[in-house]
């Protein structure tokens, strides 16, 4: 098991209800990945604007790390976890 860095800006469909951000799906290379599970969420408060991180599993069972940057509200696909 290892994580491969992707560092790609992605389009994410997310739910902001109740003041909680929950990614629902993201589009990568023209394909939409539906999020079936948010495994973990954490916040990095060291930068001036907080960065919100999510570990998500898509419908194919792959696990990705998404990041929402609090300052510019840009979504990044940080990494994918791979079975080795």
């Amino acid at each position: 098991m290892r994580s491969e860095l992707l560092d790609e800006a992605v389009t994410v469909r997310a739910d902001f209800q109740g003041g909680v951000v929950t990614p629902l799906a993201f589009r990568r290379r023209g394909r939409e990945h539906r999020v079936v599970r948010v495994n973990a969420r954490w916040i990095d408060r060291v930068p001036r604007h907080p960065h919100f991180f999510f570990s998500v599993t898509d419908e194919s069972g792959d696990t990705y790390q998404l990041q929402l940057q609090g300052g510019d509200l840009l979504w990044w696909l940080d990494a994918v976890m791979l079975e080795t």
């Binding site: 098991m1 560092d7 954490w42 060291v46 001036r48 991180f53 570990s55 696990t63």
Partner: protein, 479 residues
């Protein structure tokens, strides 16, 4: 009374299973029995001391030649204090299992070279922190080895410590554990055990991680009782239970007794904390120096160390191993400068200045070297620290062997502004401080890697970067 590993109070989360009793703990003592034991203890201590170290002079009505023992304070810790120890179970490995559900239930270890953290599934195979990865693979071929995500672990820890602060006005934090002073919070939070159970639930809900909580009359006992119910346990020990709880425990379980002290004690046929009580304070001081007197108190269940946010850390260190062992001077210098600038930035954020700089090296043949230097004046600016670090590196890196890891440690701190400034360089010092404050703001906003100087530029393009700076192979942060 024995340690009171308790079932979770009413309404506790299912994860809070009843704490397991300490199998070696004796039955609860009758109230008041402690004082009787204590006088016995004092007598045996006096007898032991009479033959070894000089006892106090006889006074009052004592006859010449009598051994007079000063009345010892009660063998119990102060009953007023309530300290909660929170320990995150298998911290790094547990987070990795949260991040990727495919790892749940599998033996997982985090580390590079040696194990930094291993899941409880891995521990069943005999894997332990500090063990070499090669040995871990032999013992458990199916183990999943991960390099780790230091920044992610820090975020989780800060979240947990933030929850601790909602329960306690004073929280002292370490990498994966915290001490919370719950003294005087009973009217706010109810009894300490109930508060600890609620804190466990909140941590589980917010992070998905389990913690082990120990409640005691002081830090030492709170941590020790927690250890008996790991993982995901909850236990409390009262002051009156301290003596019996400690008596049968091995000496190396006592805070401050490491491998070397334990070896010394065992060579004297002192194996348990109870046996250690027979040694007078003077003997322990002769054996271990000033900490010996502290151990004299601790083996009696007394620990008066307060719980406080450490405003001034003992040390700030930044270390990493190289992606491959190297003897290339430019790479080593660049990494050391980068680590120094990271440590200096942390120092400035904490508002302290360091008097001492140390450099640590680890060669590829596992040989280590470390040397420290005192700065002419306490400083928090990068150039002063980097200059000292480079001089130390020049003096240390003498073998014709590649380096595996390098590290820098700042210590001997004083609050910034508490040092005497130079009479004629005040203006220059002010300009320099403003410059580095500006650097820190830029780095805070855009990542540390956005501003690197000097030899650290060598790392640009060679190492991957993220919002925090260069991605190091095995970043290790220590307060």
């Amino acid at each position: 009374m024995r340690s009171r590993p308790l079932a979770a109070p009413d309404g506790a989360h299912p994860a809070l299973r009843p704490s397991r009793a300490n199998p070696t703990a004796p039955a609860p003592a009758v109230k008041g029995a402690a004082s009787g034991r204590e006088s016995e203890e004092s007598r045996s201590g006096a007898e032991a001391g009479a033959g070894t170290a000089g006892m106090p002079e006889a006074s009052g009505s004592a006859r010449p030649g009598d051994v007079c023992v000063a009345p010892e304070p009660p063998l119990l810790a102060s009953p007023e204090r309530v300290v909660l120890h929170v320990d995150i179970d298998a911290f790094f490995a547990a987070i990795e299992q949260r991040l990727d559900p495919r790892l749940a239930g599998r033996p997982v270890i985090v580390g590079a070279g040696v194990i930094a953290s291993c899941s409880y599934e891995a521990r069943r195979f005999g894997l332990r922190a500090g063990m070499r990865l090669s040995e871990a693979r032999q013992r458990c071929p199916e183990v999943v080895i991960l390099a780790g995500h230091a920044q992610t672990y820090r975020c989780f820890a800060e979240n947990i410590f933030g929850l601790c602060r909602t329960f306690s006005p004073a929280v002292e934090t370490y990498l994966d554990e915290a001490y919370c002073d719950l003294t005087g919070t009973a009217r706010l939070h109810g009894d300490a055990l109930g508060a600890a159970a609620r804190l466990k639930r909140e941590i589980l809900g917010a992070t998905g991680l389990t913690v082990t909580c120990g409640v005691g009359p002081n830090r030492m006992l709170a941590k020790l009782i927690g250890k008996t119910v790991k993982p995901d346990g909850l236990a409390e020990i009262a002051a009156s239970e301290a003596e019996e709880f400690l008596t049968s425990r091995a000496v190396d379980q006592l805070a401050g007794v490491g491998h070397a002290h334990a070896r010394t004690l065992r060579s004297m046929n002192v194996h348990t904390i109870g046996e250690m009580r027979a040694l007078p304070a003077d003997v322990l001081a002769a054996l271990f120096g000033a900490p010996g007197r502290l151990l004299y108190e601790r083996c009696r269940g007394r620990d008066t160390a307060p719980v406080h946010e450490r405003e001034i850390p003992v040390s700030i260190s930044r270390e990493t191993s190289f992606h491959r062992d190297t003897a290339e001077r430019a790479e080593i210098d660049g990494m050391l400068e980068y680590l120094a600038s990271r440590a200096c930035r942390t120092m400035r954020e904490l508002g302290v200045v360091a008097r001492t700089v140390a450099v640590r090296l680890r060669y590829s043949d596992n040989e280590g070297a470390e040397r420290e230097r005192t700065l002419p004046a306490a400083d928090d600016a990068d150039p002063a620290v980097i200059e000292a670090a480079r001089a130390l590196l020049g003096a240390l890196f003498t073998r014709r062997v590649a380096l595996h890891a390098v590290g820098l440690v700042l210590s001997n701190f004083v609050p910034a502004g508490a040092t005497q400034g130079a009479l004629f360089e005040e203006r220059e010092a002010g300009r320099r401080a403003a410059l580095y404050r500006a650097f820190d703001r830029v780095r805070g906003a855009y990542g540390h890697g956005v501003l690197v100087s000097g030899r650290a530029l060598h790392l640009k393009g060679r190492l991957e970067e993220d919002a925090h700076g260069f991605r190091l192979r095995t970043p290790s942060l220590t307060k």
